[in-house]
Assembly symmetry: C2
C-alpha cells in the first residue's frame, strides 16, 4: 500500500482546520506507543475539538491518501492505536465531555474521550450503572472501549461494551458523518450499523459521539475470595458455580504469580490473602439481603474443593482494595518483564483443558506465563513474559507459542481474542481462527467503509 507523505503543504492545511497540530519529536514520540510497548511515531499529531474539525482532517487525509490512526486513551493491548504507517495520529482527547445523562430514559450521550471510570462515577451519582469495566478503566476512553468492544470482570453478568452502545455519531473515512442508529434500547431499522462498528477497532469510522444505555445500579455487592491448591480445581469450580442457578456479577481467576505481582506492585495496599496456587474471586450483586445466602450456597458447594478459608469482602473499602489489586495485575506483570498478552477465550467448560495446555506450552517454549482473567466468560489473559531472552529469540518463540495457544483455543471451541481485539499484535493469527471465506467478507466490508484504506490501516488483517 502506497501512502502520501505528510509534507509541509499537508501540515499547513491541517493547521488551517485544527488548532493543535504537532510535528515535534516529543509529541510524536508520546503518541507512538500504547500498552503493547511497540513504537511507531506518527508524522503528525492532531487534536481536533469538534466533529467538523475531524471531517476536515479526514478530507485532507483522503485527498493526499495519508493514513489516519484514531487514538483514545492509548491503553490498548493489541496495538489498535498504533500508527504503523506513520501519517496522521488523530487523538480524540479534547472531545471529553459527557453531554447528557437522561435518568428517565436510562441513556448517556457522551463524547469519545471520556474516561470510562469518570463516566461510571458520574452516572452512579444518579443511581445508574454503566457496567463495562476494563482493568484500565481509570485511563481508557469510552471511544476506545467501543472500538475494541472492551469488557472486564462485570461483562460476565452484564455483557460487553457492545450491549450498551445504542447509537454512534461517526465520521467515515470518505468524509461523511451521521448517527448510526437511534437513542433507543432496540432498533431493527435496516442493518444495525451501530453494532457493526462496535469492535471494529477504529478501522471503519471515527466515533465522535456515543449514546450508551444505563441500567439501575445494584444496591450492594459481596466479594468472595476462594483459594485452591491447583489451577485445575479453580477452573473446574467455575463450572460448578454455574450449576447452582446463581448468576454472579463476576467470576475472576488468578494464579499465584499474578496476585503476587500485584501485591508487590501495590505495596501500599495491605490485604491479607491466602497463599494459594490459584484463586477465584466471585462477586455477587443485588439486594443486600440476598448476598449472604448466595455466598453460603457457593461456600457450601465448594467447601471440599477449596484450600483453606473462603474470605468475604463486604465493605466498600475492602472490596475496592481487592479490585485495585485485580486491576493492576497487567501493569504489575509489566514491571517484572515485558510481556505479550494472549487474550484466550473458550467455552467455560473447557477452561481446565485450556490452562493445562497453556502450562504445557510454557514448558515447551521455556517462556513463563502468568494467567488471570474473566473465568466466568472463559476468558483468560495469558501474559507471556520475555524475561531475559534476547529480542530475536523472544520474537520467534513468542510468535510460535501464540500460534499454538490460538490453535488450542480454536480446538476447544474458542477463538483468538476475547476482549482485547486483533489489532496489530494478533493479525497474523487471524487465519487460525477465522475461515478464509469470512476474512474475504471482512475485507470487503472494510472496503465499503474505507475504499482508500486510510483509516487505521495495517490492523486486523494479515499482510
Amino acid at each position: 500500500m502506497q501512502y502520501g507523505e505528510v509534507n509541509e503543504r499537508v501540515v499547513e492545511l491541517l493547521l488551517q482546520v485544527v488548532e493543535e497540530v504537532y510535528t515535534d519529536q516529543e509529541t510524536r514520540s508520546a503518541y507512538a506507543s500504547d500498552e503493547t510497548g511497540f513504537y511507531f511515531p506518527p508524522d503528525v499529531v492532531v487534536k481536533p475539538r469538534s466533529k467538523q474539525e475531524i471531517l476536515e482532517i479526514v478530507r485532507i487525509a483522503s485527498e493526499f491518501k495519508i493514513p489516519i490512526t484514531p487514538r483514545g486513551g492509548g491503553t490498548g493491548l493489541s496495538g489498535g492505536a498504533l500508527p504503523i504507517y506513520g501519517g496522521i495520529l488523530l487523538s480524540t482527547e479534547k472531545l471529553n465531555s459527557i453531554l447528557d445523562i437522561d435518568t428517565v430514559s436510562g441513556l448517556v450521550i457522551t463524547e469519545p474521550a471520556v474516561v470510562t471510570q469518570v463516566l461510571q462515577e458520574e452516572v452512579a451519582k444518579l443511581g445508574l450503572y454503566y457496567p463495562p469495566d476494563p482493568a484500565s478503566r481509570g485511563s481508557c476512553f469510552i471511544g476506545g472501549n467501543i472500538s475494541e468492544d472492551s469488557a472486564g470482570p462485570h461483562a460476565f453478568k452484564y455483557g460487553t461494551t457492545r450491549a450498551y452502545v445504542l447509537n454512534l455519531e461517526v465520521v467515515t473515512p470518505t468524509g461523511e458523518t451521521f448517527w448510526t442508529g437511534s437513542n433507543t434500547t432496540k432498533n431493527t431499522t435496516g442493518y444495525n450499523l451501530t453494532q457493526a462498528l462496535v469492535g471494529s477497532e477504529g478501522t471503519l469510522a471515527i466515533i465522535t459521539k456515543a449514546t450508551l444505555k444505563l441500567i439501575a445500579h445494584p444496591e450492594d455487592s459481596l466479594l468472595l475470595v476462594l483459594p485452591f491448591d491447583s489451577i485445575e480445581k479453580a477452573t473446574i469450580a467455575v463450572g460448578k458455580i454455574m450449576q447452582t442457578g446463581i448468576m454472579p456479577a463476576a467470576i475472576e481467576f488468578m494464579e499465584r504469580d499474578a496476585l503476587n505481582a500485584a501485591k508487590a506492585y501495590l505495596q501500599e495496599i495491605s490485604v491479607s490473602l491466602p497463599d494459594a496456587t490459584a484463586m477465584l474471586w466471585v462477586e455477587l450483586d443485588g439486594f443486600t439481603d440476598t448476598l449472604f445466602s448466595q455466598a453460603e450456597k457457593i461456600s457450601n458447594l465448594l467447601s471440599k474443593d477449596v484450600y483453606g478459608d473462603i474470605l468475604f469482602a463486604h465493605s466498600n473499602a475492602d472490596k475496592e482494595r481487592l479490585w485495585q489489586l485485580r486491576r493492576v495485575i497487567g501493569l504489575a506483570v509489566k514491571n517484572i518483564s515485558p510481556y505479550v498478552d494472549a487474550d484466550t477465550i473458550v467455552p467455560r467448560r473447557n477452561l481446565p483443558e485450556l490452562l493445562r495446555r497453556v502450562k504445557q506450552l510454557e514448558k515447551v517454549y521455556g517462556l513463563k506465563t502468568i494467567c488471570y482473567g474473566h473465568a466466568g466468560d472463559g476468558n483468560i489473559h495469558v501474559n507471556i513474559l520475555k524475561g531475559n531472552l534476547d529480542d530475536q529469540q523472544w520474537k520467534v518463540k513468542l510468535e510460535n507459542m501464540l500460534d499454538d495457544i490460538t490453535r488450542a483455543c480454536v480446538e476447544l471451541g474458542g477463538t483468538l481474542a476475547g476482549e482485547h481485539g486483533t489489532g496489530l499484535v494478533h493479525k497474523s493469527r487471524l487465519p487460525l481462527a477465522v475461515p478464509k471465506t469470512e476474512i474475504v467478507i471482512m475485507k470487503q466490508i472494510k472496503r465499503v467503509w474505507d475504499p482508500l484504506d486510510i483509516l487505521n490501516p495495517g490492523k486486523i488483517f494479515p499482510e
Copy 2:
C-alpha cells in the same frame, strides 16, 4: 431486477438435491403469507434437511439467478418471509432439533427451526434461561428471531435476541458456508460478523445452526398490574419506576381496547382486571424474598397516580393467565379488523409525547389505533385498523399515517422499527429514519454478501 424463471429444469435440479420440493398450488399458497396478511406465492417450496442441501439449493438459485426467500415460523409482522418476486421459498422447518445444551458453559447449539418456547422450556428444565420472548414465541422459530433481532417483554431487562447470539453457522448466497464466530460469550477476533447478521432479516445469509448464550434462571417473579385513568399517566409512570433504582424484568403498557380485545379473544380465560383507560404490567424477578419489598416500593411511589387497586400475581397460574392475555393481543386485534403494526420506538422519556401524537393522528386520519407494547423500552406497537374502509382508501390513508408516525418517532429520538424489522411493510419509510449516506453503506454491505441480489430481495430498501 431481472430474475430467472423456476422452470422444469430448475425443479428437476432441486429434486436431485432435496427430497421435499413442492410446486402444487396448495403448498405454494400455504407459504405465500405471514402475519402481515400479504399474499405472494412462491414458484416452488423446498424443505431441506441439512446444510448440505441448502448449499446445493443456493448453488442452483445462483446459477439461474432465482430469488430465495428463507422462512422460519412465518409469524413476522414486517413481511420478512414473503417471496415477493416468487422464486424459491426455502422453509427451514425440517431443521428443528436442539443439538446440545451445555449447562456448564451456559450454551445451547440449535437448528434454526426450533420454536422459541420449546427452546425456552427445554433449557428451563436444566435451570437455565433464554430470555427473548416475542409474543409469538409459541410458534416463531429461533432462526426468525435471530434474523429479526426479535425481543418481547423481557428484552427490557435482558436484552434482545442479539444479546444471546454467539455464533452462527450460515450458508451465504454465494454458496459458502462457515461459522461466523466462536462458542464464547465474548469475541473480538476481526469484525463481528455474527452481530452483523443478527437483525439482517434473512437478506445476507441463511442460518443453519446457532449457538446461543443461556443464563441462570431467576428463582421467582411477581407481576404487578397498575391501572391508570389516562394513557399519559401510565406512560409517565414508566419513567417514575425507572427512577426508583429497581430494574424490573418487564414493563408492559396496554390501553383499554387492547386488553378488551384480548379478553374477548380468550374467553375461556377468566381474569378479573380493572376497567382502566391504560395499564402498566410490571414484572419483577429474582429471589422470592426481594420481590414484595420492590413491589411495595413501586406501589407506594405510584399510589396517587393509579386509578384503583394495584393487583399482584404471584402464582404461576395467575401470571401465566395474564401473560397469555398479553401475548394474544396481536391476534385479538386481527380478529376485530385487518391491521398494520407501526412498531414505534422512542427514548422512554418521550413515550407520553409519542402516544399523544399517535392519538392525534388517529383523529386526523380517522383510522382507529390500538396501542400496547414494551413501555420500558419505549417500544409501543401501534396497531392501525382497517375497519370498514375500502382497499384503496385504506392504502392511501395508512401509508400517510405510517409516514407521520415514523416522522414523530424520529423527531422524538427514536426510529422506524423497534423489534419487528423493516422488511416489506416499512421499506418505503427507511429514508425517513436513516440518512441517505447510511443507506448507501447498507446497500453496499448487502452487495458484499449477496452480489446477485438473490437472497430475500425487495426487503429493507425502498425501490
